[in-house]
C-alpha cells in the first residue's frame, strides 16, 4: 500500500513544485499519474522515493523499485541487457560476495518475462527504446519490491513495446504489487484502476470514470487540452522537448 497525505515538495529553498497531494493506493492497484510537463509528476515520484525532502505531509511507502526513463542512462557504457537486469540484485549483495546464483536466475527470468530472453547478451546501447525500457522493468523485477514507480515508460516507445509493457504492468498488478505510473496518455489512464491528476497540486484522484472528467482534464492540462468533437474524449497535446 502507498499512502501520501498532505504532501508538498520543493527543490531546495524554491517554491513548492507540488502541493496538496493526498491519496492512498492499495496493494494490487495500478495508478496512472497524469499531468502536463512541469506539472510535478517526476517530482512526486522523487518525493515518494524519498529523494527530496518533503515541505509538508507524509509518505508511507513500502520498499520501492523505480523504472526511470531509459534515455537517462549511458548508452555507451559496456553492459548487456542481462548485466543491467542483474543490477537489481546489487543492493542486497555485499561488495565482497559474488552475485548469488538465485539472483542470476532471477535476472534471466525477468528478461524472459519482459520478452527479451533472446536479447540477454545484446549490449544495452544497441537495443531499441522500447527494449531498453523493458530491460529497466526487468531490473525492477529483480529488485522484487512491492511498490513499482515508473516515470513515463511509454514515452518514445513503439506501439508494440507499449502494449507489451502495459500488459506486463497489469500482470504485476494482479500479483498484488502497487504500481504508480506516470503517463501522457489519457486514454491509457482510463484502462488503469485509479487516476491521479496533478498540475502543481492534486486536481483529482479516483477511479478513471470519476477522476477523468472534462472539468478535471481542463484543470490538469489547461491550454494544452484539445476537446475532440463527438464525445467526451479529450487529448493532451504534448509539447515535450527534452
Amino acid at each position: 500500500m502507498l499512502r501520501v497525505a498532505g504532501l508538498s515538495a520543493a527543490y531546495g529553498d524554491g517554491p513548492p513544485v507540488i502541493t496538496g497531494v493526498d491519496f492512498t493506493a492499495e496493494a494490487g492497484r495500478i495508478v496512472a499519474l497524469i499531468g502536463p510537463n512541469g506539472g510535478g509528476k517526476s517530482t512526486l515520484l522523487r518525493a515518494v522515493r524519498g529523494e527530496i525532502a518533503l515541505r509538508t505531509g507524509v509518505v508511507e511507502a513500502p520498499r520501492a523499485a523505480s523504472v526511470p526513463q531509459s534515455d537517462r542512462s549511458r548508452l555507451d557504457f559496456p553492459v548487456s541487457a542481462y548485466d543491467v537486469a542483474l543490477m537489481g540484485a546489487y543492493e542486497r549483495t555485499p561488495w565482497y560476495r559474488p552475485i548469488a546464483h538465485g539472483d542470476r536466475v532471477a535476472a534471466t527470468g525477468a528478461l524472459e518475462r519482459v520478452g527479451l530472453a533472446d536479447r540477454a547478451n545484446a549490449l544495452f546501447g544497441t537495443l531499441s527504446g522500447g527494449q531498453r525500457q523493458r530491460v529497466m522493468i526487468a531490473r525492477a523485477l529483480v529488485q522484487d519490491a512491492p511498490l513499482l514507480l515508473l516515470d513515463e515508460p511509454f514515452a518514445g516507445v513503439d506501439a508494440r513495446s507499449g502494449a507489451r509493457i502495459e500488459s506486463l504492468l497489469l500482470a504485476l498488478r494482479d500479483e498484488g504489487r502497487t504500481i504508480l505510473v506516470a503517463t501522457h496518455d489519457v486514454n491509457q489512464a482510463r484502462r488503469f484502476d485509479r487516476v491521479l491528476c496533478i498540475h502543481g497540486r492534486q486536481i483529482a484522484y479516483g477511479p478513471p470514470a470519476d477522476a477523468l472528467t472534462a472539468e478535471t482534464l481542463q484543470q490538469t492540462y489547461g491550454g494544452e487540452l484539445i476537446m475532440l468533437p463527438g464525445g467526451a474524449q479529450a487529448v493532451a497535446v504534448d509539447h515535450h522537448a527534452h
Binding site: R49, E51, A64, A65, S66, P68, Q69, S70, D71, R72, S73, R74, L75, D76, F77, P78, V79, S80, D83, V84, M87, G88, Y90, E91, R92, T93, W95, Y96, L123, G125, T126, G129, R139, Q143, A155, G156, H184, D185, N187, L228, Q233, V235, A236, V237, D238, H240, H242
Partner: protein, 295 residues
Amino acid sequence: MSWLTDPFATGLQQRALLEVLLLGAACGPLGVWIASFRQAYAAESMAHAMLPGLVLASFAGVPLVAGAAGGVLLAAGLVGVAGRDERIGADTGVAIAVTGLFGAGTVLALASDAPARLQEVLFGDLLGAGDGDLVAAAGLAALIAAGLLAFHRRLALAAFDSASARGLGGDPGRAALVVLVLIALGTLVAVQGLGNLLVVALLVAPGAAALQLARRLVAALLVAAGLACAAGVAGLVASYHLDLAAGASVAGCAVALYAVSTIRSSATGGSGGAVSRSKASRWPISSKPVRTRSR
C-alpha cells in the same frame, strides 16, 4: 629475441620493468572509470597541480612520492574550493587553481639554489626507481586494486545510470569521490616513473582505448590493464633501442595504442567496442510523438 631481452639485462632495467607493470596494472583499469565518469580533466588537473609538492620534496631530499602526496592533498583542497565558485563555473575555477599551483611549482623549481631535478619531476625517471620507490608503488597499486574491487558494482551503477543509482544501493556523489581519490592514488604511483606531465597519458589513454575495444565492463578493465602494461614494456624497449627518454616513450606508446584502437574501432564501425562512437555521440533524444489519437 635479444632485442626484447637486452633492454632488461641489468637490475636497474628490471626494476624499471617491474615499475611499469605495477603502473599498468593499477592505472589501466582506473582509466576505464576515469573515461566513464568523464574525469580526465580532473586527472590532468591533479597531476599538474602537485608540482609544488614535488619540487619541495626534491628540495628536502625526500622521496618524490612523499612530496606528491602533499602536493595532491593541497591541489585537491584548492581545486575543491575553486570549483565551488559558481560565478565563474567549476572548470574555470579549477583551471585557475591548477595553473596557479603549476606556476608556483615552476618558480620554486627554477630558483637558483634548486636541486637539478626539475626534469625528473616533470618527466619522471623510470630507470631511477629504487627499492623504496618500488615498494611504495606496489603498496599504492594494491590499494587502487582493492578500491576498484570493493567499489566495482557501485561505480558501475553510478556510471551507467546515476539518476537511479541510489535506489539500487549506489550513491553517485560518493562514487565520483571514490574515483577522484583513486585518481589521486594513481597519480602518486605513476609520478616517480612518468613525472607530473606524462602521468596523465597512462591514466587516461589505455582506459579510453579499452572502452573502444571491449564489449563488456570486466573485459574492458582487463584489456585496459593489458594495454597499459604493454605500453610500459614497449616504451622501455623503444627507449633502449632508440635512445629515447623512458617515461616519454611509455607515454607515447600509450597514446599510440589509443590511436590504433580508435582507427580500428572506426574502421570496423565500432563493432568492437560497446557502441560505436558515432552512435554514442548521437546522444539519446526522447522522441515522444505528438498525441492526436482519439482513443
